[in-house]
């Protein structure tokens, strides 16, 4: 029995059920909440979190506490949108330079899927 070990639970969306996502070691409830947030909720994984130990259960209860205080879109998929446009710009630059390397390669995407 490890009294420092807390189970971390997440509510993925408003109204959804609690779902266990992992564990943290912490000496008290406040520190467990802080470590749970930093360990499992950096990328927008839920709207509430809870930590549980020995039958006690502490939920954050306020979605604002999981919201980002500043723009942290670099932690999210949508922070890297526009890759398609960047690919086209890079392709145009490579075409202007005549730098594309054309050597034998697998034929199409189907081959890549088959090979995993």
């Amino acid at each position: 029995m490890d009294g420092n070990r807390w189970t971390v639970l997440a509510r993925r969306r408003a109204g959804s059920d609690w779902e266990p996502v992992g564990e943290v070691h912490a000496p008290d409830e406040d520190m467990a909440v802080l470590l749970a947030k930093e360990s499992f909720f950096r990328h927008g994984e839920g709207v509430d979190l809870a930590v549980a130990r020995d039958g006690s259960f502490r939920a954050l209860g306020d979605p604002d506490l999981l919201a980002f205080a500043t723009d942290k879109s670099y932690r999210l998929q949508h922070g890297y949108t526009g890759l398609g446009g960047k690919r086209r710009r890079a392709a145009a630059r490579v075409a202007a330079l005549g730098a594309r390397i054309d050597r034998p390669r697998p034929e199409d995407r189907r081959v890549l899927r088959e090979r995993g």
């Binding site: 564990e23 942290k72 670099y74 890297y80 054309d102 034998p104 890549l112």
Partner: protein, 307 residues
Amino acid sequence: MDTEAREAEFLAHVRAGGTVEAGDWMPDAYREGARKFIEMHANSEIMGALPEREWIPRAPSLRRKLSLTAKVQDEVGHGHLLYRVAEDLGKPRSQMIADLLAGRTKFHNVFHYPTHTWGDVAVIGFLIDGAALVNQQALLESSYGPYARVLTRICAEESLHQRHGEDLVLEMCAGSDEQRAMFQDAVTRWWEPVLHFFGPPSRPGGDILLHYRFRTATNEELRQRFFDRYVPKLWDLGIDVPDPDLAYDAEVGEWRWTQPDWEPLRRIARNDGPMTAERLALRRRLDDANAWVRAVMAEPEPVLAAA
């Protein structure tokens, strides 16, 4: 049931696609092999954060600084998750950290090299993370359940890192001649370590982890998948790799590639790489400097009842 029958049953179970949990009976060779593999993976996440950490102060914009910092935090987080999985196989986390710091255990070869320019950061974000993602996606099918489950989360974050890495690469390749040259130079220097990353071709039947379906693909299969995904992307960007014979052989259905000198990999396996001593020394300094945090986080002393 005697041990031999148990082992046969275990082997049949994992070969048929069955998974193993931490509390299940498993052959000693499986437990030992799985623990070493996951421990090395955890070590590599922790040590792999260092080459990129070096570039946080020198990142070319605030946005790049923030996204690199977030990525380094993710990698260290992966280390934490993986040490937990490894410790359930019977080695305390404190011992794993102590062995890493003392140079008694290993971490992946690519983290033993210096990072000279911002081009290296792009190579790490795109090709090194790409190589790691190829490996980790294959391990999602691992027979060891706790590892496969923790990799689901890790792969989700790594796919974010992939976008980050491609973003860096596209910016450099669409940029000035100097930027393109900087990225090309980094790819040229990193090609050999990337080939080493997958290891020498596996000896048939020689890998106990493949035998027990802990790993699901051979070194060479993984390297070929990496070529499939990344070499055409580099060529499309006009970036070459230092192997004039690298080409896809449609008849064989495989890439032909030139064997590198494997000696640098053997040296690194003895913890004698270009940056091994320096990075381990930094890791030890950080460990000392942060000792007070671990002390604060330890279980509080029980309060003695008043006499």
